[in-house]
Symmetry: C2
Subunit: 320 residues, 2 copies
């Protein structure tokens, strides 16, 4: 036999990670130190739920809605953590404050976890809570925000509700990733997947909205009930624009006056091409612009925000 | 504002992990040190493929078949690693030899990885290879092997092929985990999911076989093409038992003479109850026993095995 290598004393990770602060097991850590066991069923079985809230100009936006969805998801998956909503809020607050990030993408996760003997019974596992705050990210980059996104409608079917409940935010993304590669092959920026009836579903990390003859619509079946999606409903109501959730066919998407996608990662993002065909005039439409502006104005309303006091160094004390 | 906690210098993981040895980034590590970044898309998007081979009495079983499936899966997901099959073999060998485990569950994984700026474009990520050897595990425990497993047929639909290709071994398990909780509610040991046509698909980590009037059958559509499943085809051919892959209805399962499930984690495991109704005589059937014995005999054939020379301490040298 060949000579065997030695065991290493410690794992040295050669990869580089973004700035930010994570929380795991009572500890606040820089992102390069935030690591989970390869045996965690959140990884090995994607047995996890999560949520993402953003911080904009030093304040959380609609944090309570994200918390409610997250706690509902844990319930539905038979998971529980020792923190209540107030405690999770404090942890997220601490991650952002310690990171110093004024604009941040804040993810919080519950995984099934592991059991000491690696039992295959999920009831034996100790569920784990993880959170992290990293710089704000967007589905659309600056150039795409200006010219509008180019989207490919694929024939890939978003994992349907009889398999996985899409209202429980989850990490089952292989269909969405396949969509991305299909889109790249067509020189599009991102993809739309279909629902199991052949109607429009959603894309990688976003909901989609169609505007036609003054009516705004978004799919209802087989999609995540996005918080930004909800913000669009709320805004349209205020702005007296009719907005409904319903089945939408691929052809309706192609014949739209305007299209935009919504995500906590980026907000309201215009779409100007579908399958290489321009939408409307082929430039960002006026309704999309108005809704986008209104969305960012919402961030200033007291009911939607929770401001963060960022520390000076002397304010940081020993925790937990 | 409240006083902020301090950042921790190092992450201290309070959890306990099984014995074994992992490989990451050129390093061999005990299982408590094998950790991936929470930002790896293998975790955050379950964007990964993997395989599991077992070591039995000091030898790998059908390693080449597992390697072939793994490399095919990476290709299909647009992933690549710097190791070829011979190098992966050497890594798996080293993990097992260093672990000292004579019977081992050996998992190897390729994740999408991360990019330094946490890009959302999967093409920007550096794919990661991880492997580990831990003690051999089984879907069925000893008691269940004796009395036969009790299985619940659920109405949950296994994630269908138009969403995720089941022949690429993947971590999308939320449907299977839901199946387990549904089974536990019915005091069953594990679950069977349906395919999108209402036929029998597979269960959490296993394929299922039906024996009726001397014919052995297993589902063909919407399932993982298990290596143990392939071993059953091979064995039945040798034993001159007719064995086919075809659509199987839930009623056929209930009316079977014998049922068994197959998995690298446990081999051939008998089923004696479906939805609280006994199968056949309600005890482990003679055909299941014969096939199980033949399966373990296969492990002694030279073409199926690759023996491991376990080290004495003086043989372990500096690696890489």
């Amino acid at each position: 036999m060949h000579n065997l290598p030695k065991l290493s004393e410690e794992y040295i990770d050669p990869n580089t990670y973004p700035p930010g602060v994570a929380f795991m097991d009572g500890q606040y850590l820089t992102m390069d130190k935030a690591k989970i066991s390869v045996l965690d069923y959140g990884f090995l079985h994607s047995d996890a739920t999560y949520d993402v809230v953003h911080v904009w100009k030093g304040a959380f936006f609609r944090l309570e809605d994200h918390l409610n969805r997250f706690f509902r998801g844990m319930d539905m998956l038979h998971m529980s953590i020792s923190c209540d909503k107030a405690q999770v809020t404090e942890i997220l607050y601490n991650c952002v404050a310690l990171s110093g990030l004024q604009n941040s993408y804040v993810e919080f996760i519950c995984t099934r976890g592991t059991s000491p003997d690696f039992s295959r019974d999920p009831r034996d596992a100790i569920n784990r809570f993880i959170a992290f705050a990293i710089p704000f990210g967007s589905v659309a980059n600056e150039k795409q925000m200006q010219r509008g996104l180019h989207i490919a409608i694929t024939d890939i079917v978003r994992i349907p509700p009889p398999s996985v409940d899409p209202t429980i935010k989850n990490y089952h993304w292989l269909d969405l990733v396949k969509g991305l590669y299909t889109a790249y092959d067509q020189e599009a920026d991102t993809a739309i997947l279909l629902d199991s009836n052949g109607n429009i579903a959603e894309g990688p990390g976003f909901n989609i909205f169609v505007a036609k003859d003054g009516l705004v619509s978004t799919p209802e079946f087989g999609v995540l009930k996005g918080i930004t999606r909800q913000s669009i409903f709320d805004l349209c109501k205020e702005m007296q624009i009719e907005c409904v959730a319903r089945d939408i066919t691929p052809n309706e998407l192609k014949a739209a006056d305007e299209l935009f996608i919504t995500s906590t990662a980026g907000g309201v993002m215009p779409v100007t091409k579908i399958n290489d065909k321009p939408i409307g005039l082929g430039s960002v439409g006026s309704l999309s612009k108005r809704i986008n502006e209104a969305y960012w104005q919402m961030h200033g309303q007291d009911k939607n925000r929770m401001a963060i006091d960022y520390p000076t160094k002397s304010e940081v004390v020993d925790g937990c």
